[in-house]
């Protein structure tokens, strides 16, 4: 049973809140007490799990909703608000703020309408001062025969357009053309659209498309592991791995723990030594590691293809199968950074003894990759025709759960035994991870 002081020390360690003396005390406690070790490991694992919780994003329209509320509220009040929350909970309290602009606009509109009405009413009233104008009561518009009396000879009757407000008797009336409708032929026709001028300055430059004689597309390698029993697939992976200096291979598994065990079995069958970080395996078994990484730079392309062939045979022995697809891509910049973090050193992924194109020619056709059963391939590798390499297995995700390179004895062993890279070896990062199905 741990004391309260010991528990406090342990939780402080999980929070990274120990000074040197406390850290020494904790180390002593963990060395002496198994319950303390268990408690520390469990609390630390819980903390890592919390840190690894997926981030949940707000709804896509969240920002718009907030800004709509802000817009409805108006500008920030100038006077200090002592209790801002109350104003939100009681929207009626400041409802005049929202209605004030609308009320102002409505008042202006009513004012304009009223003024217009008065002006036009006044104009109507002016007809009484014009003795020549027909009275409003007897109006028949432009057809009124009395226009002949009021207008000079040959002058046209007014059109049915709105009547002028003033018509002085002595005013000179120019001969206005008789109101007539324009014939259809004279209706203005829109000009033809201009032809586009491709030579316009400022027009977007249009690249001339070259004529291709031959187009070659390179797709990433993506095949089910089960297909590694086919020679063509094995050869395809071997050729793909010869095209770039370093690769990342994602190995999708339905169960990461089982997948890791099978991979270790396959590696043993091939005489390929895997130094598995003990902490990573422990966390993996507890379900706190979601994917593991195996790094090696001691196998050639054909040996790697052979290793996957043996892995396929191991996988075929269990039902249902554990592995799904194998996906190989050249190592990206982000992967390179992560590999450095995992190993604690720069493995020199892109240091090449032999250029990639030359290496492809070295893949022996009809040998270990393309011929024989998985057992024969494994035996051939074990017998020294290849293999004998080593790699390191550690946590890939969550990144917070990785063992520090300086704290992993297995990693140190791997690095000390790693030695010089073979000229035809391909550095690969193999990530065993959960698949979609």
């Amino acid at each position: 049973m741990l004391t309260e002081a010991q528990l406090t020390l342990i939780t402080a360690a999980v929070d990274g809140d120990l000074n040197d003396a406390e850290a020494r005390e904790l180390r002593r406690l963990l060395d002496e007490s198994a319950p303390a070790r268990t408690t520390y490991e469990r609390l630390r694992a819980d903390s890592i799990r919390l840190q690894s919780l997926p981030r949940i994003e707000p709804p896509t329209d969240f920002h718009a909703r907030v800004m709509a509320r802000i817009a409805a509220f108006g500008t920030i009040p100038v006077s200090p608000l002592t209790r801002p929350t109350e104003s939100i909970r009681n929207p009626g309290r400041h409802s005049w703020r929202r209605w004030a602009p609308i009320a102002t606009a409505a008042s202006v509109l009513i004012g304009i309408a009223g003024t217009s009405f008065l002006i036009f009413s006044a104009e109507r009233g002016d007809t009484a001062r014009n003795p020549n104008r027909p009275s409003v009561s007897g109006w028949v518009g432009a057809d009124d025969p009395r226009w002949n009396e009021w207008l000079p000879v040959n002058s046209a009757r007014p059109s049915s357009a709105p009547m002028p407000s003033e018509r002085n008797e002595g005013a000179v009336v120019h001969e206005a053309p008789a109101p007539s409708f324009a014939p259809e032929s004279t209706v203005a026709v829109a000009p033809e659209p201009r032809t586009p001028d491709h030579d316009l300055i400022g027009a977007h430059p249009r690249a001339e498309f070259p004529n291709f004689d031959h187009v070659q597309l390179r797709l990433p390698f993506l095949e089910p592991l089960a297909d590694f029993e086919r020679e063509a697939v094995r050869q395809q992976l071997a050729e793909e791995l010869g095209r770039d200096p370093a690769f990342r291979i994602d190995l999708f598994a339905r169960n990461t723990i089982r997948g890791t065990e099978l991979f270790q079995q396959a590696a043993r069958a091939c005489g390929f030594a895997i130094h598995a970080d003990a902490n990573s395996l422990s966390y993996l078994r507890k379900g706190q590691v979601t994917s593991v990484a195996i790094y090696t730079d001691s196998l050639s392309a054909s040996e790697l293809a052979a290793l996957f062939t043996v892995l396929n045979s191991e996988d075929a022995r269990v039902s249902p199968r554990v592995f799904d697809a194998v996906h190989a891509m050249p190592v990206a910049r982000e992967d390179e950074v992560e590999i450095r973090r995992i190993l604690g050193i720069d493995p020199g992924l892109f240091k090449r003894a032999i250029p990639a194109p030359d290496r492809r020619k070295e893949i022996p056709k009809g040998t270990s990759v393309s011929a024989g059963t998985a057992d024969q391939i494994a035996s051939a590798i074990k017998a020294g025709k290849g293999g004998g390499g080593s790699g390191v297995l550690t946590t890939w995700a969550p990144a917070q759960g990785r063992t520090l390179p300086s704290m992993s004895a297995e990693l140190k062993t791997y690095l000390s035994k790693r030695g010089e890279r073979k000229p035809d070896a391909v550095p690969v990062l193999i990530v065993i991870r959960h698949g979609n199905g």
């Binding site: 903390s47 949940i56 907030v66 920030i76 200090p80 929350t85 992560e338 991870r433």
Partner: protein, 188 residues
């Protein structure tokens, strides 16, 4: 305080609402992620964070700038969430996957891995369930320390309690959470 935040606040006070829109964009994700862990319900979390932003907007002139803007926003949002929980009292659990949208990958090279974001959903639901059963004080410190990765000083600022209180709350919260989570054998 971050200069950018200071400038945005000044522009808001000058009448530019779009400056506040930038503040919302900047902090909505963090606030929502924390609040949803507290209330365990996506819609409630959205309402609370929305209300918190509106409260912050109204009281922006009263923000003195002696603390970080995000700690101030956290304080408003957490207070709103605690009031909400007191009123509601009924604990709802985060449905499996119902709120798990937009999951950030831990894997830095996620682009090579199509459709694997749900691989930890079950574990996340289990952890969320345990978290929801803690007292609000314990939930808050764990969320702010482990999920948001804040320092003791920032947590103390947000919760308006001394740093020593944060330490002791964290201690008790970790032990309580451990009791609520299944043991190793069950989790396998």
């Amino acid at each position: 305080m971050i200069d950018e935040d200071r400038r945005l606040i000044a522009e808001c006070l000058g009448g530019r609402q779009d400056a506040f829109g930038i503040i919302v964009s900047r902090y909505q994700g963090r606030l929502y992620n924390s609040v949803i862990r507290l209330v365990a319900h996506p819609e409630d979390a959205a309402d609370i964070v929305q209300e918190a932003f509106l409260n912050a907007y109204q009281a922006l002139h009263a923000f003195k700038g002696d603390a970080e803007l995000f700690t101030w926003l956290y304080r408003i949002a957490f207070n709103a969430a605690i009031s909400f929980k007191r009123k509601k009292r009924a604990t709802t659990s985060l449905g499996s996957g119902s709120g798990e949208i937009g999951i950030d990958p831990d894997d830095p090279s996620e682009y090579v891995r199509p459709g694997s974001a749900l691989e930890r959903t079950e574990e996340a639901a289990q952890l969320q369930s345990a978290l929801s059963r803690l007292s609000p004080e314990h939930q808050q410190v764990l969320i702010l320390k482990d999920i948001e990765g804040l320092k003791y000083e920032e947590i103390a600022e947000i919760l308006s309690v001394p740093i020593g209180t944060i330490r002791s709350r964290l201690h008790r919260a970790r032990l309580e959470l451990r009791q609520l989570l299944p043991s190793e054998d069950e989790s396998r």
